[in-house]
Symmetry: C2
Subunit: 189 residues, 2 copies
Amino acid sequence: MSAVTAPTRNGIDTATLFATLDLIKAQPELARFQFRATNRWLGGGHNRSTIKGFYAAGGEDTTRTETFEIDAGEPAILLGTDTGPNPAEYLLHALAACLTTSIVYVAAARKVELTSVESTITGDMDVRGALGVDDEPRNGFEAIRISFSVTGDAPPEKLREVVERAKRRSAVYDMVTNGVPVAVDVATG
Amino acid sequence: MSAVTAPTRNGIDTATLFATLDLIKAQPELARFQFRATNRWLGGGHNRSTIKGFYAAGGEDTTRTETFEIDAGEPAILLGTDTGPNPAEYLLHALAACLTTSIVYVAAARKVELTSVESTITGDMDVRGALGVDDEPRNGFEAIRISFSVTGDAPPEKLREVVERAKRRSAVYDMVTNGVPVAVDVATG
């Protein structure tokens, strides 16, 4: 029995964190994950994703008990009835959430106790692209800006280093800035 | 008074749809939109985005009455407590939702009455990247696959054309496949 108790920092069990990193270093095949969602159209601009199962560390996950259902919509000006955030807003959420979690985990590993992490994220779009009225503007956001406010028990320079490291490791930041190959297939009838 | 009543197709008011497209063609400056979210860390792998306001068609939106709050989390194996889908799962949702909405709107414009649009989306990740234990695997998904099942009152070839057009106009598909410049700034203390 060790005299060192497992320290929880930023709500993260750092003993488990380091044990997980060691395990994956030793057995890289455990690092293969697959995440999934199913989506169903509910009428107009309203659709719903269902998220539960995923593959991780050599097998299908059995720990997640809740099935998440998340609704997307469009506001009136985009011909919907506000049944949820729109898909582009969900992308902003995914990016802000991933950078935030990365900041929290990096800080935990580097012995920085955070007190708050807040952010505002914006995306600018010329909707002529997505609406198909002009081929020149791209369909998606031309630019995304995210402003973090981070406080904790480390000097500003150290907090900035944590954010910088989080950027270099965030899964969604990588995908949104660099792109991912997407294969689409269709069954009809 | 027109004898032609506004036809709703796939839950979309197509008269309003075409009027919106005509307006934006005539006044391209109305096509400038900005979407936003604010995010706050709630402990460990748990954070929450708040989404309401956006800029559209020359002014700040006043039609959306609901404030959306969406929670992100991580499963146990990624050191969280399943307080919501994780950020990478939200990105899959954003992509499936955007392609689905694009399919529905394109079909409405092309006089195709849809009966169902369902999809399954998966993303494959080697988590050594995001966990920072190896520099070789990328942080995000290596590949995303989405399989649509689409039914409606058009022949299979026409339904496939609708999906193909939706891909070419989807805002999130553009962003996820091509990437977007993201600016991150940080205030500390």
